[in-house]
Symmetry: C2
Subunit: 185 residues, 2 copies
Amino acid sequence: MAIWVLRYGHRRMRDARASTHVALVARALGAKGIIFEGERDDLLMERLRKIAKEWGGEFEVRHTADWMKEIGKFKAAGGWVAHLTMYGQRLDDVIDEVRKQKKEGMGGMEKDGLVMVGSQKVPTEAYQLADFNISVTNQPHSEIAALALFLDHYFQGTELKLEFGGAQRRIVPSKMGKNVITCNE
Amino acid sequence: MAIWVLRYGHRRMRDARASTHVALVARALGAKGIIFEGERDDLLMERLRKIAKEWGGEFEVRHTADWMKEIGKFKAAGGWVAHLTMYGQRLDDVIDEVRKQKKEGMGGMEKDGLVMVGSQKVPTEAYQLADFNISVTNQPHSEIAALALFLDHYFQGTELKLEFGGAQRRIVPSKMGKNVITCNE
């Protein structure tokens, strides 16, 4: 089972920082990769790949020119699609159902998931194509926070203990100050 | 018991959007208010107050010219200070201790809390003044996400059910589409 994040409507100038946060949250909290839709931003993607290499793990970063096709491919392969929106069903009310999505005829393996977060306004089709429209509170706040809470509730906190293999740099948690280990290969 | 957020090192041009996310997350997830340190940004604060008025509740927004003094006042009043940093102790390992902070001689009432998140690099003094330096994963990601997860774990999910009194606008969660109620006073 893998979770991917689809970042809809990225704009190079305006969204660089917020999209960086979205991608790093996806990686840190256990997603397998991020797919950017909108303006192709090679600089951003290169920077993210560099961070992923430095800090370990297998995070993938790519761009798509057709988000509906991505959703289509995902669903055709048996996966579910969740769209995070302040208008959706409450996270609490729906997360168990999302977690219980199992593949048919494959010994009940969990399905892969695609989590869509908008940068700009998301078109009506997204609401229709998604299996779940999910709100993390129905208040205005942040797609970065919404993604973090979705992943934390989906993985039930286990993602906070993830280890990232092959890291060049690692932090040892400490009460005060900074303890960074550099691993030379 | 109330939780406040201290946003350290805000810069008007560079941080407007990220600081907006931090403030809206604070509000949506149950903090009582936000204190901005760094460049005074009246436009941002006015916008946040307007959103808070529109969506209800009692969220407070203000600026400080002296973050150390704020921490000092907070601790003098018996509160705890948590600094969110990727170098700190793991959220899981420390959140129960934070939640158990009780006021002495007041029937064991929970203490108020101040949660500090940086925009730019946070000075060494912050690590020393904080009662808790807390990491939400030890990976690079987002102070917006870190704040959201801290508040969610502190309030143990109860904050996702908050109702905001006196709102001019309210969303009714829905499976598909948008259902917004406008409340005329």
